[in-house]
Symmetry: C2
């Protein structure tokens, strides 16, 4: 099934194929992608939809020197396979394997590691200006989806595209789907354009554009005007982009490889920025994904059985716990509003959307406005819950500062994918949210360790009068509590287990589970340690300082960077308190804090467990650290 693919090992091999062979190659690519993703998990529907577009780009451009910029980038699988990574592709998203996103470390044909939206046009703008300065003539192509183009960063880049006085092609890959049903004016605009064209029209459009090709050898400006005249239609899709002074071409059929190749070649000779609008069908060629592209947007491993498929029933996750908890809260309190930035599935809001349609908002991939909109809702006395992955919430840092923290408004931030995220790798880790949030006055940061605490945190947040963040990882919830639950109070920790050694493990969030398992092992080895669930990263429980006053060795355990993390906050609190109170016992205790968390480096894709191990957060690693420390202690006594 990969007869042709087996012969492709780069640019020249691809050029040698006939158009018929390209059609076969597309099928082979789909086959390989589907079968690999069924084993490794990953993004399926978008990768199946973009196969012909990828082939056409690789035939029209030479990305050994030309530059291709991906946006978000999870749809780059065919590109990876075609650029010398076919064999490695079996290790997609695995430790020491291929990244699920573009990665310059793997290939020079990947220009940027990406994973966040809206960067393709923005970085292409910089590359084009750089080429302008350098006087080089490589072609630059920014490939952006209809979901990413609504991001503010895309708009800022489009608004500045006039700085470019050389070739720069923006390809709008419009699969009319985004991550979920895209709301918003841009989506409606694109769908009005779409409704005015059948697929037959598209064929005609393409043909009319091709009549004006080959453009080489003719005066481009003339041809450009002719092409554009030919394309004027009842609802002119050029209106929006040409208001912004960007020549618009299309829409064209993104599964017609031959026509696309010719168009790309023609447009590559334009001496300025241009936008080509391409329609593709998400999930094309694999019936289950074709029928249900949302389900197959990002998937775990599944079984292929003809057109049947089976996704293993997942165990209960923190996302589930959050989603159900928010629905329950909303049933009791009609002021609760949920906001997502194009991720209702990922953030667990599907039930909420079904149950409370009028209290649910999806703003598209636009995290900044999600937060400001929430601030406006909070001003009106409503209780907005903004549900965004930790890494994407970075886009809202300035809005969290000005519209939530400075105004002291009760916006609740529900931060899924906090901590390491496993196979999505470094573009997606949520390792900095405690740092960038605890900088800001008025903010509370809770990190529930189990489902009960999630519900407690949600209830507390709903009744609280200031901004409130709840962080939780991509992880299963524990089947049973680690200890009997004690009253859940703002800024209060809970002691889960008292030990008689001088070691205290203070865990924040789900790492409390690893701490408890480590404690069990240590007990078996005759070391009885105390385990504390910190529950909050801000405000910190001042009673934690008592462990230091008692001279205990305090390990702070957090699924977060050590820099600016929870352990760091504890040291700051201890240092300031010791100075204010002139508390010598506390002062002497500060040196006994041992912070465990992520070091100052990027953790590559691997399983989440493996990444926790690298951070020293598995129970085995915690046991090792405690024993190492006690050995030192005994040796130096």
């Amino acid at each position: 099934m990969t007869k042709l693919l087996d012969k492709i090992n780069g640019y020249d091999d691809l050029q040698a194929l006939t158009l018929e062979q390209l059609t076969q190659l597309a099928e082979e690519l789909r086959h390989l992608i589907t079968h690999t993703v069924s084993r490794t998990g990953g993004h399926l529907a978008s990768n199946l939809g973009i196969v012909e577009l990828t082939l056409a780009m690789h035939r029209a451009f030479d990305f050994r020197r030309d530059r291709l910029l991906w946006d978000v980038g999870h749809q780059c699988y065919a590109h990876k396979i075609l650029t010398g990574r076919r064999d490695a592709f079996s290790q997609l998203r695995q430790e020491n394997g291929l990244s699920g996103f573009p990665s310059p470390a793997e290939s020079d044909t990947d220009v940027f590691s990406v994973g966040h939206a809206g960067t393709a046009i923005a970085t292409a703008l910089g590359l084009a200006l750089g080429a302008q300065h350098n006087g080089t003539n490589e072609k630059i192509v920014a490939l952006v989806g209809d979901a990413s183009i609504v991001n503010g960063l895309s708009f800022e880049a489009l608004n500045n595209i006039g700085l470019v006085k050389r070739q720069l092609l923006i390809v709008l890959n419009d699969n009319s789907m985004a991550i979920d049903v895209t709301q918003g004016a841009m989506a409606k605009f694109l769908s009005r354009v779409r409704l005015s064209h059948t697929y037959e029209d598209l064929r005609d459009t393409t043909n009319r554009m091709l009549e004006h090709l080959p453009l080489i050898g003719r005066r481009m400006e003339e041809t450009l005007e002719n092409v554009k005249k030919t394309l004027r239609m009842a609802i002119s899709p050029s209106r929006l982009f040409e208001s912004l002074n960007i020549p618009y071409f299309g829409p064209i059929d993104g599964h017609d490889t031959a026509s696309m190749i010719e168009l790309f070649k023609g447009l590559s000779h334009l001496n300025g920025p241009a936008l080509l609008h391409v329609y593709t069908k998400k999930g094309k060629g694999f019936t289950p994904a074709d029928d249900n592209p949302r389900k197959y947007h990002s998937t775990g491993p599944f079984e292929i059985n003809g057109c049947e498929e089976k996704i293993a029933d997942g165990e209960r996750t923190f996302t589930d716990a959050f989603g159900d908890g928010l629905v329950e809260l909303a049933e009791r309190d009609d002021k609760v509003i949920a906001i997502t930035a194009a991720m209702p599935d990922g953030t667990g809001l599907v039930k909420f959307r079904e149950r409370f349609k009028s209290r649910y908002y999806d703003v598209g991939i636009a995290e900044s406005v999600a937060v400001d909109m929430a601030a406006g809702l909070a001003k009106q006395g409503l209780k907005p819950f903004v549900c965004i992955y930790s890494t994407f919430l970075q886009r809202s840092f300035d809005q969290i500062f000005q519209e939530a923290s400075l105004q002291n408004l009760p916006v609740v931030f529900c931060i899924d994918r906090s901590g390491v995220v496993g196979n999505d790798g470094p573009t997606h880790h949520g390792l900095w949210d405690i740092g960038y949030l605890r900088l800001l006055p008025n903010l509370t940061i809770a990190a529930p360790a189990d489902e009960w605490e999630m519900r407690q945190a949600l209830s507390l947040a709903a009744s609280y009068k200031s901004p409130f963040a709840i962080r939780y990882p991509k992880e299963k919830t524990p089947a049973k509590p680690y200890a009997e639950h004690t009253s859940y109070q703002l800024g209060k920790s809970a002691v889960l287990q008292h030990g008689d050694s001088d070691v205290v493990l203070v865990g924040l969030g789900t790492v409390v589970g690893q701490a408890m398992r480590a404690a069990q092992t240590l007990t078996q080895e005759g070391i009885s340690v105390t385990v504390v669930n910190a529950r909050f990263a801000k405000p910190l429980d001042e009673s934690l300082l008592d462990w230091l006053r008692e001279g205990k060795t305090v390990f702070t355990l957090e699924d977060h960077s050590i820099a600016c993390g929870f352990g760091s906050a504890l040291m700051e609190l201890a240092a300031q308190t010791a100075h204010q109170l002139n508390d010598d016992r506390l002062r002497d205790g500060i040196g006994k804090i041992i912070p465990i968390g992520a070091q100052d480096a990027y953790l590559p894709a691997a399983s989440r467990t493996r990444q926790l191990e690298w951070m020293g957060l598995t129970s085995e690693k915690i046991v090792e650290a405690v024993k190492h420390c006690r050995t030192q202690h005994i040796r130096t006594m």
Copy 2:
């Protein structure tokens, strides 16, 4: 000169005035604003330009219940004077006085404290949705400038404005100026619209719109269509906004108070979002500001003498030192590129722009794309210097993460207005940049203490292969070095003075000056302290740990929040190093770090010196802290 103003004490008084009186009132407001700003400093040109527009809004709406959202907000002076703050206005931007920006603490008619761009439409969106949920019918008005509407956040909000099914008026205050000459497609689009209309046309436009008023009592939908038909012109300004499904009205003359009042009243009955495009003239009515609105955008105190004016020659600032340093660097190295986000004056790039026009880019108020564009330029082997105030760089946090830090690209961040900023107050402080930057791997953070160090940092940054941040405050440079300069090396501190007491003052950046003055005073009182210039917040100089090993009391002094700051970083480094090396002396020393910086609260507007005093960073406060600590020490020995 304020005869009428003296009688205005709120909404009802304003309603009682005739149109002729409103014209006089506008003059009185201009007079009061100009004379106050000549004493206090502040934003002048934009406030003079918006007087009639403000009056018209206050006549058409009742902002005791209707909501007015400002964008950036520095043009709210007339609004403040009209809403019960006329007397307080003499204390504009002073300690315990009025904020230079909207402030809900001062008046319920100020909905949000703002200072950053792009938030008006975004928060208005939330307020409108909230009103929709609550079933209330207050009118909501978002006032946005032509400089702010190009911000990605504005676009994200416009893209989602279709969620609103009730009244929401966006007023585009187009003074064709922005903070500096706005580049970009939106600006060109607006200027094409502008060029197609003379001021006479505007009068006609307004009249034609007014023909369709009063709208009350007529069916709005019909009228809306009629109004829009009447307005179609050769270059239809509605193209862009109507592509986004936002009804567009205008452009109209923003100095014709009577017509504006009628238009606002009419449009306030629309049952959905709409945009009204208003032309105003920045600096109107004060000849020097009228002639040179850029100079009077934001000004220090000046003298009014008929039409003459004088701005006191400033002493040399860090902004000057940076600007000159970058020009020198660019003369030696033709790869140096400068990027600003609409702030060439504020960030000291005017000379650079004049000297190296082709290596200078202004992307408008769009900090996110500034960083991604820089990353693209860096990929092409150029050396981009991104010049953005600390507080506004928060908008780029996610781009600094993904496009600079993760790719490890040599983008240089030149961060002016780091630390407290004085009279601009809490929306503008740069108190968190060390925190949000040191979280990210691969980043270097330098903080020059004088002009020589600024040049050294710039040279080092230009030759460095990773992202590099340089932070410096709104402050004068010291007239002479604090000590003889020692070689400037990455991540190395410099000892400025050795003392024989157990106290070490480690200052980062310009607070080294205060530390040296404190040391002089302490010497006179018989306490001889060591003073160290840390120079870098990341990487930290490991030799700083030796002071701890020696048992010294180490004060870390930083114009930054204590949370996640430089002192916090030193504690993290010490804790990890002590654990790794099993270094008991270091462990015992950690408790002797005393971090001095901003506490977890917002510092109000006041002089910068006063704010430093609140943080404990004036030389007097440092002396106090040292003496307090030594008293404790002696008492407890």
